[in-house]
Symmetry: C2
Subunit: 206 residues, 2 copies
């Protein structure tokens, strides 16, 4: 397949398709359709067909998609047919919860280390990890070749941590701090902020 | 202002504008522009002006937006110029972290109660709360008139919990379980799944 620019909004839907396919596979299903995927996700069947067609021919008119095949193809496209090590910065409630989260296995990710700058937390256990000193973050992340990190520190500290992560070679940051980050081009940031999601819904409530 | 259908994707950007405005206000700033907002958010200035113009006239050509004024208007539009009580279902790592999270105050939300169905958790303390028995969830949420809830239970239990929340009168659900939920029209669901965000970024990594 030749390289072409796929809009990020299309890329953003692929993990949703992958999650639904996994769910169907877990239900013992073997074949699905763009209609069924669309109903599960609240996305039109036409949109799903158009999105997938940007990456190749994955289904046949009339017979639909083989779930396992499409799942493997999407894993390849999203580069999650391997495990990415993750560094977590911040061993507070959220960082600790994510470090203990079992949902990353078989999804392409594996938490590798967790850092904090609080001397009371450094050296303590969080799940299977010993909290490392954030003072050594740049060296340790670089030495491990880690490219994916999560920020779970207070908003006021998030930009400083992001700068260090970029210095360490991180190119994908999932930011749990409720603040916009400024990063060089070539580095991606995604945000998880429950307030943003909640406010998007209260618009519709009276 | 007359009621008109605003696309949900526009509604979804308003909380981001609000968060940036709050950040600017915290920095002691008084006036901003669509250009500056756009740079902070990675959204074009034209898009921001177009989005805001759907709700009224908030800025003046040449002088930009008064931060405090626009902040108040967006709070009104998003219905977060009041506090919405939230019920959390699931007192595991994620549910407990969210129950203790301090980031909801002054953003329109207030955690009111947390439930679990595990007898070992019911009655224990999580932050300022005593974990309630999920068996009484429908009655308690209905009696309190709560319309906003979060699901933080294993994927296999999430749909069952969602059904009960809908029965209790909940109309906005933030789902931390990595599974798509089916709800009646009139009920909104938003998803927080770190895997989805991470996979969207690994697409760009080699």
């Amino acid at each position: 397949m030749t390289e072409k620019m796929i809009p990020d909004i299309v890329v953003g839907r692929l993990p949703l398709y992958l999650r639904s396919l996994r769910q169907m596979a877990a239900e013992g299903r073997q074949v699905t359709s763009s209609q069924e995927l669309g109903e599960r996700l609240g996305i039109s069947a036409a949109q799903i067909r158009k999105d997938l067609s940007q990456f190749g021919e994955f289904g046949k008119q009339g017979t639909g998609y083989h779930i396992k095949f499409l799942e493997e193809k999407l894993q390849e496209i999203l580069h999650v047919n391997r495990d990415w090590d993750i560094a977590i910065v911040g061993a507070g409630d959220i960082g600790s919860a994510v470090a203990r989260y079992k949902g990353f296995s078989h999804q392409g990710f594996c938490v590798a280390m967790i850092f904090d700058n609080d001397p009371k937390k450094v050296g303590t256990e969080v799940g299977d990890f010993i909290v490392k000193d954030a003072a050594n973050m740049v060296e340790e992340i670089r030495a491990a070749g880690i490219q994916v990190a999560m920020i779970a520190v207070p908003a006021s500290e998030a930009q400083g941590v992001a700068n260090k992560l970029v210095e360490a070679g991180v190119r994908a940051i999932l930011n749990y701090a409720p603040v916009n980050l400024s990063v060089p081009s070539g580095v991606r940031v995604q945000y998880i902020d429950p307030v943003i999601h909640l406010q998007r819904m209260t618009y519709y409530l009276e």
